[in-house]
Structure formats: C-alpha cells, structure tokens
C-alpha cells in the first residue's frame, strides 16, 4: 500500500511551514483520512527520506511529526552558523527526568525518596523547559501533584513514544519483593522530608 503522492507532497509542504511537531490528527482532518492512515503516510514519507539519504529527516513523537536535519550534517551547520540550542541538562535534572519517565505519573515525594535528596529545583527547571508537566493529583493524603513527561521530552531524547524507553536492567538476583522495597522507601522519604527544610542547590 502506498500513500497518495499528492498527499505526501502536501505533507512535505505542511511540515516545512509548520516547523513544530505537526499532529497526525490535525492532518487527518485536512485530508479526510483516518489517523492511522495519516500516520502511515507520514511514516512512508519519512522512510523515503531515509532511503535516499536526504539531508532532511522526518521524526516522529507521540503521533506528531517534525521535519529536522540529518544529524550527519551537523558539522556543516556548525560551520555555517551556530544554531541556538538549549543548555544541556544537569545530572540532577537527568536523574529526576529518568524517574519521571519510568514512574509516571509520579509525585515529588516519590522522586525525592528515590533520590534521597530533595528535587524541587530540578523539577521546576524541567517544568520550565516543558520536559515534564503536571498530570493530575494523586489520591494519596494531601493529594500531591503528579508529574509526567511531555512531547518535548520525547523530541529532546529522540523517542517516538514512551515505549522506546529502554528497559531498566533488573537488579538480578536481588530477592526482595517490590512491595517490600516500596514501603521502605516511603518511610525514609518521610523522615527526610520532616527533617529537612533546606535543599541542595540544583540547577537544571
């Protein structure tokens, strides 16, 4: 099955003018196609770009598609100009992001207890950069805010969906059950929170 060349041509134009990730759903309405058909057309187009080793690529994230450059040409781009790039994430930010990515939706308390240190600053920075967002409230006491990753998170790390996150290596022969681990962490987390007003300076 091959998508209509007319549609693929139009998609190229749309991706170009739009610049940002373009939702398959929006395009599906435009072309009067189903969303899966639209996604299929996008993927076919992306495949053609790769096949002819184009200097452009179409990347997919969470049912959205974005036109971008082929990473191989970065040297030339750097020599022509210096594209504005965001600062790299700090170690603290990366740790928090890893926890949010795997445990989402997750509360700040859970993040703190896994890291053994307060994560307020890192969390704020990640929200400001739109890599994580609030995604509701936990049913637990105090109804703490739950955090989840965003589409920008997928884009920044080159994932198409959250399923692309690699499985974390299991701790092998470690015998304790999950339940046991969980309750332990929670209690230590609570101790840490109650003792600790200050927090370590952390920038994202």
């Amino acid at each position: 099955m091959s998508a209509n060349p007319r549609i693929k041509s139009a998609l190229e134009s749309l991706l170009f003018v739009w610049g940002d990730p373009l939702e398959a759903k929006v395009c599906a309405e435009l072309f009067d196609l189903s969303v899966p058909e639209m996604i299929e057309a996008f993927r076919e187009l992306a495949g053609e770009y790769e096949l002819r080793d184009s200097g452009l690529r179409i990347r997919e994230m969470d049912r959205s598609f974005q036109l971008c450059t082929n990473a191989e040409n970065d040297d030339y781009i750097q020599r022509l100009c210096t594209p504005v790039k965001e600062k790299r994430l700090t170690q603290a930010a990366l740790e928090v992001l890893a926890i949010v990515a795997y445990r989402q939706p997750v509360t700040k308390g859970e993040i703190d207890s896994i890291r053994g240190v307060r994560s307020d600053r890192a969390l704020e920075g990640l929200i400001r950069r739109n890599l994580i967002e609030e995604s509701g409230r936990s049913q637990a006491i105090g109804r703490p805010i739950l955090y989840a990753t965003t589409r920008e998170f997928l884009a920044l790390f080159g994932f198409e969906t959250l399923e692309d996150l690699p499985l974390i290596e299991d701790a092998g022969t470690f015998a304790l059950s999950d339940h046991y681990e969980y309750s332990d962490e929670l209690s230590i987390g609570q101790i840490a929170i109650s003792l600790d007003g200050a927090e370590k300076a952390e920038d994202v």
């Binding site: 170009f16 191989e72 970065d74 890291r115 701790a171 304790l176 681990e181 962490e185 230590i188």
Partner: protein
C-alpha cells in the same frame, strides 16, 4: 583516607554512598557496614560548614548507617554480623541503593541520547500571517460555558419568579372563573333568566366585575347562555339555554 571527595560532586547521600561502595570494591549486596559507615562519616566531617547546612539529607543517611552498624554488632549475630533468624538489616538500604543506581544509569542513558539528538536541528515556524484568510466556522463550547450559561439563566429566572407572582394571581383568577361559572349555574337552578348586576356579589370589586364578565363570555362561548343588552351601558340580561340545563 586515600582519596578526597568533595560533597558537591554528589547528587545526594545515595550518590555518595554508591560512590564509596564502588570505590571500596564492595558488592552492593554485601556492604561492609562498619567500613562504609566510617568512610561516609569521614566524608561528611570533611565538609565545610555551609555544606552541612545545605545537605541535611547526608546526615539522615549517616544516622541510618550508624543504626545499621549498631544492629549488626548486636550479640547473636553470625560471623557476617547478620542477627540470627532475622532479615538482613542492610536489605532496606540495599534496595534503595539499587533502585537509585538504576535511575542513575537511566540518567546517563538520557544524557547520551541528548548528545545524539543535539546534532539534529529544526526550523522555526514560517510566518503564517499571510494565510489568515476568512475564518472558518466551527462550534466551540466547553462544560464551563455550559454551566455559566445555565447559572445565568437560573439567576435571571429567580428574578422572573418575583415578577411572576403577578401571573400567579391571574392564574388564581382564571381558576375562579370556573368557580364563578359554578356560581352562575347555581343562579340558573332558581331561574332561567338573570341580570348581570345580580351576579356581582360586591359592587365595588372591579376584580369581581371583570371575573363575572369573563365568566359570562365563557358561558356564551360554550353556548350555555344567551345575552341581551336592551340599551347601551344598560344591565345585561342573561338567559339560560334550556338543553344545557338538562345536560348539567
């Protein structure tokens, strides 16, 4: 100690502990608590004063380590320091360290991914203002709007309610049109002809006059009576149509 570490190298107490354990070539599953506690405390002691203020989490873990150490020194422990017949007191900490390490590895993976995608560039959106043509129509609504509109309606309705008391009086009057017709029919039980003025109970009650008049009109409409007014503005004669009596 053979090495010097600065606390701000570490993301937190677990980070420091993992570093010390790995540096001492211990198995994370079999921490030599005595040794690692000493190293941990030594590192914290070497911190400068402002560090201590900023890093209370390190102190919390120090307390945990000291407690662990004391448990493992209790009599009845086996040669490894594990009390007999009990769960290894290190288990909790080990579980936490392993989980922390897992996410630390993930963070490293994310950093690699970030490096890889740093070579990919996107472009800003084109200036699309030239495409802003005639707008398309689409129905837009949300539940808030729905509730707001309904509330506004209820409020307006409440105010109408007050005004509507007037209507309610008219309602009652209408109800009593039936009542009045009943009264008129009672008259006809005694005579087949009656004058309008006789039907009015209280002469000064405009309401009663109007009510009676409307009732008579209703009876005319029902073809129950015939009316006659001998002279303009004179009294009206109302005559019962016979078969109506038989029916009622």
């Amino acid at each position: 100690m053979a090495y010097k570490v600065k606390l701000d190298m570490f993301e937190g107490p677990f980070d420091l502990l993992v570093y010390l354990i790995e540096h001492a070539r211990m198995s994370i599953y079999d921490i030599r608590v005595s040794e690692i506690t000493a190293q941990y405390l030594e590192t914290i002691r070497s911190m400068s004063a402002p560090d201590i203020a900023a890093a209370q989490e390190f102190m919390v873990l120090a307390a945990v380590l000291i407690e662990l150490k004391s448990k493992m020194l209790l009599p009845g422990s086996d040669e490894e320091g594990v009390p007999e017949g009990e769960e290894d007191p290190r288990a909790e900490l080990v579980a936490q360290l392993i989980e922390y390490k897992r996410f630390k590895e993930m963070a490293a993976f994310l950093a690699e991914q970030e490096d890889a995608t740093a070579h990919i560039h996107t472009k800003p959106q084109e200036d699309l203002s030239c495409y802003e043509g005639p707008e398309e129509e689409s129905l837009r609504a949300d539940s808030d709007q729905f509730v707001r509109a309904f509330r506004a309606f209820l409020f307006r309705r409440q105010k109408l309610e007050e005004i509507r008391h007037t209507y309610e009086r008219v309602e009652r009057q209408r109800m009593s049109i039936e009542h009045k017709i009943g009264q008129i029919r009672d008259f006809f039980a005694k005579a087949t002809r009656v004058r309008f003025s006789e039907l009015i109970a209280r002469k000064n009650d405009r309401y009663d006059v109007v009510l009676t008049f409307v009732s008579v009109l209703e009876l005319i409409k029902q073809a129950a009576v015939k009316v006659r007014q001998p002279k303009p503005f004179g009294d009206i004669e109302i005559t019962l149509i016979d078969d109506q009596v038989n029916q009622s």
